[in-house]
Structure formats: structure tokens, C-alpha cells
């Protein structure tokens, strides 16, 4: 567990930022997209370059500037951070490939702007993943909010405008109105904002009620985690082009939210303090309510992307729940779910987008018989759905297994019950789509012959992510190593 000073974290964060001038000056779409992919590969290579050293127990640090006494803008790459960084940077490449197919297929406008902000958003996501302290995390969290606004409102129509308003109101309102004062209070009491294994608030002398309020401020302030009742922005943000929904609203933005909450739970409060002050039950109950309510919400949706959005809201709370179980298995489940849910949900969004590009259909009720017309896409949809539900041999099973183990290990039967109930509900909203697609006849008047799948780039990327769901089940080595590394960090064992 040694700290080494290394430029790599900074380079990994900046890799996608540095490509923006190339994107702006690129003369043709091919060159522009070539640069995007190059940046994606460079970023992934940098993250992978750090992987062996992190696995070896080192932590890579880099300090940009010390802005307050005891609080700097600084990076520290540990197991938890690199896990998240690896997930988001590898999925960025696939999303870029998918974007090329999708955006060209629909002839979308302002594609250069789109790729630029996408690159910016990825930089901010990695920044959050590698933050060494709350201040740096807050910095990149805010940057991500602003970088994604032009993506959410890409269509620039009245619907996008109102979605954008809601997006900013929830997310920036939460971070400025709640996280900023909460962070300030931490700094005033603990004189540091550094994430440390045992938390920094242990000796702060805050009373139980104060800790309670502080925790609530963090939980709701990080509105990207979409804990109910602050989830409303997520379904609204589905007006964005599908690749945006896929990467940002299944992987980057929302995961940044839950990642921030996990960091606060483990690095700021510390699990001991949470346990001794009884605050874990607060987190657990909020997460449990969100899991069930969001799944019920998903049942009522007809828009495919909206249904997926509600499903995301529910799945995010699995991760929060895992953090609050206060057991190594629970946290391992939470971290694994960060990755497995990302793979599953991104595939589902890719499928939704592919259907839209090929047929223009966006509603579940229009999907009768689509499985026979787009078998590859819907096959991937089936695999990803099963993974989200947690059926073996798919990746989603792994994370749910560890989460359930966490419940059992700490003897908490209520969360276990909610976990099982929510899995049933997952099946209840995902399976009807598959049923419609494969078993209901194509409506009268529509052609029944096989459709050319959406462009090959779209299809390939969704097949790769769906395959990923299978492969991750059989080869979970790195994922499990990294999450156990994170657990050793937290428990110090």
C-alpha cells in the first residue's frame, strides 16, 4: 500500500480533453471520428497501464494544486477508482463506435459538438473516479453536469429544453445547494477533505442528529445517483440521442452519482461511524424504497427508453444498498454491480437505439414481432435483460449474489427480501418486451420480412456488450481482484 507520484492519472483524465481541438479542426467526419476513437484507445491504454501497479498494491497519486490548507486538487488511483475508470473508458470506445453508426444513420445535426462534449464528459468521469478527496470529486462532478447539458439537449427543441432545465435544476441544484454546504461542514469539523479508509468524521465531534442531516445532504445532493424522490431528471433526460442515454445515463453520469455516494460512505463517514450511529439503516431504507418504487414505475412505462431509465433508477440503489450493508461481501457486490449493470444496461440502450434507427419505433407497444425482424438485436436484448435480472450464467448474477451474501452475512433479512422482490419486478418489466418481440405476431399491414439490422457499427457494438455480459460471468478475475482490493482499503485488512 505505497503511494507513488505519477503523471498517469492526470494524463488519463486529460486524454479525452486534449482531443477536443482536433475534433473542432477536423476537416471531415471520418477524421473527426478517427480522433475520437484514438482518444478512447489512448485513454483505455493509460488506464490499463496503471492497472498492474494498482493491482500490486500501489496507489498512484498526482497533485495539481493545493488550493486550501488540507485540501488539494489531487488524484489518487486505488482499486475502487480504477475499477470505475476501466468500466467507463472501455465502454466509451464501444459507445463511440455505436455513435458513429447511430448519428450517421439518423443524419443528426451538430455532430462535432456532440463528440466534443462527449469527450469532455468522459474526462470528468475519470476525474471523479480518480479523485483523492471530496473537493476534486466535487470539481469533476460539477464539470460533468455542465458537459452533459448540451448532450441531453442535443435536439434543441422545446422538449429538450424542458428536460435540460429539469436536469440542471436537480443536479446542479443538488450539488450547489446540498453537497457544497455539506462539504464545507466536513472541512470545518475535520480540517481535511481527503478520503481515508476509516473516514474523516470519526473524531469530528458531530452529534448524531448533525451526522444524520449531513448524510442526507450528501445522499440527495449527489442527485446523479437518482435516489428517490430526486430521480425525476433521469427519465426526462431520455430525450437525448440514444448513445448519450446509453453511456451517460447508464454508465457515466449515474454511476458517478453512486460512486460519489460510495466514496462518501467509505471515505468520509467511514463504515464504523455509520454503523455506530445507526445511519446505515437510513441509507438502506432509502435505497430499498427506491429499488421497489422505481421497478414499479418501470412497469407502468410504455416508452422503451423511459422504462430503461426507471430500471436504472432502481439498479443504482442496489449499489447504494451494497455500500450500506457494512459488510465486505456487500461492498464487493456494490462494486461488481457498478460494472455488471453498466454492461447490461448499455446493451439494452444500444438495442433500443438500434430499433429506433432501423424502424423509428420507440414504444414497447409497437414492438410486436420485432424479434423475428431483428433477431440479432433482440437476442442481445434478451441476454442483457437476463443479466440485469441476475440469471446465471450472466454477469448480473455475480453482483446480485454478492449483495445477497452481504445481507446474509450481516443477518439483515429485510434488504435481502427487497433484493429478491426487486429482481422479480425486473423480470416483470423486462420479459414482456422480449415476449412481445418474439412471440406476438407482427401487426397487420407491417412487412414481416427480416429487416436489415441498424448499421453494422451499431449491431457490432451491441453484440460486443451483450457478449461482455456472458464473458464477465466466466472471467470475473480482474473485477473481483479490484473490488477486493477496494475492500482491503476500506477494512484495512
Amino acid at each position: 500500500m505505497t503511494d507513488v507520484n505519477s503523471m498517469l492519472p492526470l494524463l488519463a483524465v486529460a486524454a479525452s480533453l486534449g482531443v477536443v481541438p482536433m475534433l473542432l479542426s477536423a476537416r471531415s467526419p471520418d477524421v473527426r471520428e478517427g480522433w475520437t476513437l484514438a482518444a478512447g484507445l489512448a485513454k483505455l491504454a493509460l488506464v490499463l497501464g496503471m492497472l498492474p501497479r494498482v493491482l500490486g498494491g500501489e496507489k498512484l497519486c498526482f497533485q495539481v494544486a493545493e488550493v486550501f490548507p488540507g485540501a488539494a486538487i489531487a488524484f489518487r488511483v486505488d482499486g475502487m477508482g480504477i475499477l470505475f475508470g476501466l468500466v467507463s473508458s472501455s465502454l466509451w470506445i464501444l459507445t463511440s463506435l455505436y455513435s458513429i453508426g447511430y448519428m450517421r444513420g439518423l443524419g443528426e445535426h451538430s455532430q462535432t459538438r456532440y463528440y466534443c462534449y462527449f469527450a469532455l464528459a468522459l474526462s470528468s468521469t475519470l476525474g471523479v473516479a480518480f479523485s483523492a478527496n471530496l473537493l476534486t470529486l466535487y470539481l469533476f462532478y460539477e464539470l460533468l453536469s455542465f458537459a452533459t447539458y448540451p448532450l441531453v439537449t442535443h435536439h434543441q427543441d422545446p422538449e429538450a429544453r424542458s428536460a435540460g432545465r429539469r436536469y440542471l435544476l436537480y443536479i446542479v441544484g443538488g450539488s450547489v445547494g446540498l453537497v457544497l454546504p455539506a462539504m464545507l461542514l466536513c472541512y470545518e469539523k475535520a480540517h481535511t477533505l481527503e478520503f481515508s479508509p476509516g473516514g474523516i468524521l470519526g473524531a469530528s465531534g458531530l452529534s448524531g442528529a448533525q451526522l444524520f442531516v449531513l448524510l442526507l445532504m450528501f445522499l440527495f445532493g449527489f442527485a446523479k445517483a437518482a435516489i428517490m424522490p430526486l430521480h425525476g431528471w433521469l427519465p426526462a433526460a431520455m430525450v437525448a440521442p440514444t448513445p448519450v442515454s446509453a453511456l451517460l445515463h447508464a454508465v457515466a453520469v449515474v454511476k458517478v452519482g453512486v460512486f460519489s455516494i460510495l466514496r462518501v460512505l467509505t471515505g468520509v463517514f467511514g463504515l464504523d461511524l455509520l454503523g455506530s450511529s445507526g445511519l446505515d439503516s437510513l441509507v438502506l431504507s432509502l435505497a430499498a424504497v427506491t429499488m421497489v418504487a422505481a421497478s414499479l414505475g418501470a412497469l407502468c412505462q410504455d416508452g422503451l427508453k423511459r422504462m430503461l431509465a426507471y430500471s436504472t433508477v432502481g439498479q443504482l440503489s442496489y449499489i447504494v444498498l451494497g455500500g450500506a450493508l457494512l459488510s465486505p461481501e456487500g461492498l464487493q457486490g456494490a462494486l461488481a454491480h457498478l460494472a455488471t449493470h453498466a454492461l447490461g444496461k448499455i446493451s439494452l440502450f444500444f438495442c433500443a437505439g438500434a430499433i429506433y434507427v432501423a424502424t423509428g419505433k420507440q414504444r414497447i407497444s409497437q414492438l410486436n414481432g420485432i424479434g423475428r425482424r431483428m433477431p440479432l438485436t433482440m437476442g442481445a436484448f434478451l441476454v442483457a435483460s437476463l443479466s440485469i435480472m441476475g440469471v446465471p450464467p450472466l454477469a448480473g448474477f455475480l453482483s446480485k449474489w454478492y449483495l445477497a451474501l452481504g445481507c446474509v452475512a450481516t443477518d439483515q433479512m429485510l434488504p435481502l427480501g427487497v433484493l429478491l422482490l426487486s429482481s422479480l419486478l425486473n423480470a416483470a418489466y423486462l420479459m414482456p418486451v422480449v415476449y412481445r418481440a418474439f412471440f406476438l405476431p407482427v401487426p397487420d399491414g407491417e412487412p414481416t420480412e427480416r429487416l436489415p439490422e441498424a448499421s453494422s457499427l451499431c449491431t457490432w457494438s451491441l453484440l460486443v456488450t451483450a457478449m461482455g455480459c456472458v464473458l464477465l460471468f466466466f472471467f470475473p478475475g480482474t473485477l473481483m481482484e479490484l473490488s477486493s482490493l477496494a475492500i482491503r482499503n476500506v477494512w484495512g485488512g
Partner: protein, 496 residues
Amino acid sequence: MTEHLPALIVVVPLLSAFLVFALGWVKRELCFPVGLCGLGVVAWACVGLLVQVLESGPVTYKLGGWEAPWGIVYVVDTLNGMVLAAVSLSAFIQWVWSAPSLLRQFPDRLGALYGLQMLFVTGLLGITVTGDAFNLYVLLEIASITAYALIAMGEERAALSSLNYVFMGTVGACFYLLGVGYLYIMTGTLNMADLARLLTGLHGSRAIQVAFLITMVGLWLKMAFFPLHGWLPNAYTHAPAALSGLIAPLMTKVMVYVMIRIDLHVFGPSYSFEKLGLDRAVVWLAVLAVVMSSVLALAQRDLKRMLTYVILMEVGYMVGGFWLGNRSGMTGAVLHLLNDVFMTLCAFLAVGNLLYRLQGCSFPELRGAFSKMPFTMGGLVATALSIVGVPPTCGFFSKWYLLLGALEAEHYGFLAALIFSSLVSMVLFFRVFEWAFFSSQHENAEKGHTGSSLQEAPAQMVVPLLLVAAGLIALGLFSGEIVSRIVEPAIPMAVS
């Protein structure tokens, strides 16, 4: 040479003001380069002086060799060294930036305009550098009178707004003069250091109390501290765009500096904050200022006018933070003073660029501005982030200290007001960006595709804006350094 730097700061712009004015009659095209050289020398002198102060402590310069308290002394410590550097650098940038629009708007009055601008800068630099309370009044009048004239150059309603400013500004200056008069009667000196020494024995005096209050009210009027702000929105809105880029960032900030200087180094922190027991009340006034100006800003439908209310809000931040009376609050106020000079400069440069190309900057007129003027709007976005307080822009860091100060002083009203105004600023600016980002319905035929082509302002206006915008981030990243080397030494040890 270096020992005469303090003198250069006032003498160079004063001489170049007359030179530029005269050149306006003889050879008009020389006004700009000559003034540029003058301001370049001033900026060099100011930055050099700041470096000198950082290396070897405060500098005292006796003008004409006369000993204090009979002669005028210039005293430079890190506090006014910082203000001097900020004022001279932003005046220099504004000089470069304003040339195209001045040339277009006032081709026949260039000499007078440039001369007045230079005099205005002379006044502000003099106010900042002087260590003499009466000399400060004289320079204050120079700065104010030139500001009245500059503002009156604007469109039709400018003259009236300027007249209003003349009335209010004169009252403010007279109050200040009256306060200084009381002090002179009680102590027989006008030199600030001397005053500070003599006043320690007079803390119980009623006359000193009156002097303190009158001076403060006068300064608050000058800096447009709510509810004494009535003159500012109209004056700054109707002033010519090129000139509000000079007046708006500097005038109020220099006045805040004067307040800090008088309170800390003439009356002393123990008198200002403890003896009179007014500190909490003034912070509540600041709360009112911040909240009311945020609300009033929400009611505006014009970018430039909205920004004038943002200035009022920032004045509330600084006055409130300073009057919290603790170290964090004062650090926040002083740091915010520096940051706000550049934030406001950046905002008004962006507005100037917009007005150079568009008819006006009421919200509907901003439609499509992102695609027409992407660089200008980029600068405006940087300002907005800084005003909202998003790291790593500088606005976040000063707000952080202000919030910390409020928390330490347990003044939760001010804490809430700061958070509230940050949220309101977000709404304010994103409303503007919405107008500029979303196009009107009929242009919206192909999924929001905007056909408008690039109509960016000239490079001479865009480059300075982008430099200042980058500066906002640089100031943020270096704020740790700035606080420990410049702000900390500026606050007396007595303040805990």
C-alpha cells in the same frame, strides 16, 4: 528606477491622459498606441511593485520627498499591491479590447474618450496607492467625475442615468469628506498610519463614532451597497458597451478596497468590529443586499442589465464577508475582490462583443448566439461558472472562504444567502444560455439545425476575452498560492 515605481503608477497615466487628449486634435490614430504604451508601463510598474512587496515587505514612498504626516505618502502592502496589479492589468486589457468598438461608435471623439479613460484609471490607481485620507478623496473625485462623463456618452437615456449617478456619487463623496473632516478635527492629521496611531487613544469619542459611520455610509453609496445601489443599474446599463468594460469591473471593487483599507488600517479591526458592535447588523444588511439583488436580477430581461445586478450581489458578498470579522471571511472578501475584478471584466467584455455584432442583448436578441459567436459565448460561460462558483474557476474558491467564514461566525443567514444567490446565479445564466442555445421555432425545421453562420467579433476583441476567461481558471488553480502569499499577510494578525 525601482524605488520610484509607486510614483510612476500615478504620474505615467496622468501624463499620458493629457498627451492622448492633445493627440486627439493632432493625430487621432496615435491615441491608441500611445495610451497602450502608457498603460503597459503602468501595468509593468504595478506588477513589479507587487513582486517587490512580496519579496521585501511593504513599500512606503514619500511623494516629492516630503515627510509624513505633512507630505503625501504612498504605501504599498500586499493588499493594495494586489488591487493595483488587478486594476492596471484589466485597464490594459480593456484598452486593447475596446479599440474596435470605440472606433466604430465614436470616430470623432476618440481623443476625449481616451483621455477620460486614462484619467479614470489614474484616479483609481491613485486611490489604491495613496496612504493619505484626503488625497484619497481628491483622486476619488477624479475617478468619479470621469466616470460620470464616460457614462453620459451612451445612448439617449445615458445622460439622465449619469445625472442620477452624479447626485448619488457626490453625496457619497461628500459623506466621505465629512468623515475625514471629523477625523482631521479630532487628530490633526490626514495620514492613514498617523491616524491609526492617534485613534487608538480616542476609541470612546462620539465624534470618532460619527466619523466612522459617515465614512462607511459614503463608501457604501459609492460601491452601491444595497439599499444605496439605486444609481448603479441604470448608469452601467446605459453606458457605452466599450466603456462599461472599464467602469463596471473596477469602480465598485476599488471602493470595496477603500472600505477594507479604512476599517483595517485607519480605525483598526478592534474598533470596527468589536467596539461599535455593528458587525452582525452590517452582515445582515449584506444578506439583504445579496438576496434582493439576486431577486431583482431574476426580473431582468436584458443581459447587460442583469449583470449590473450581479455586480450588486458580489458587492454584498464582499461587504458581508469582510464584516464577518473573522479571518476566513476576510480572506474570502479580499480574494473575492481580486476574482470579481476579472469575473466582471470577463462578463462585460463578452457583453461588449455581443453588442458589437447584435442589435442588443435582451434575451430574445441573443437567439442563436452560440452558433454565431461561439468564442464570445465560451467566455461568457466561463464567467457564469465562476459567478455560480464551480471549481476550478476562481469564483468557487473565494465563495468557499466566505462560506467558511459564515460558518465559523455562526452567521447562518449569510451562509444561506450565499447558497441562495449561487442557485439564483445558475438560473440567471442558464436562462441566458437557453435563449442563446435554442433557436426559434421556424429555424427549427431540421431537428434544431441552425443555419446561422459564424459572425464572431474581431480578433482584437475575442482574444482579450478568452485570455481573461483562461485567467479565471488560472486564478482558481493558484488561489492557494494567492491566499498564502498575498491575502494572508494583508489581514492584520489581530483578526483571528
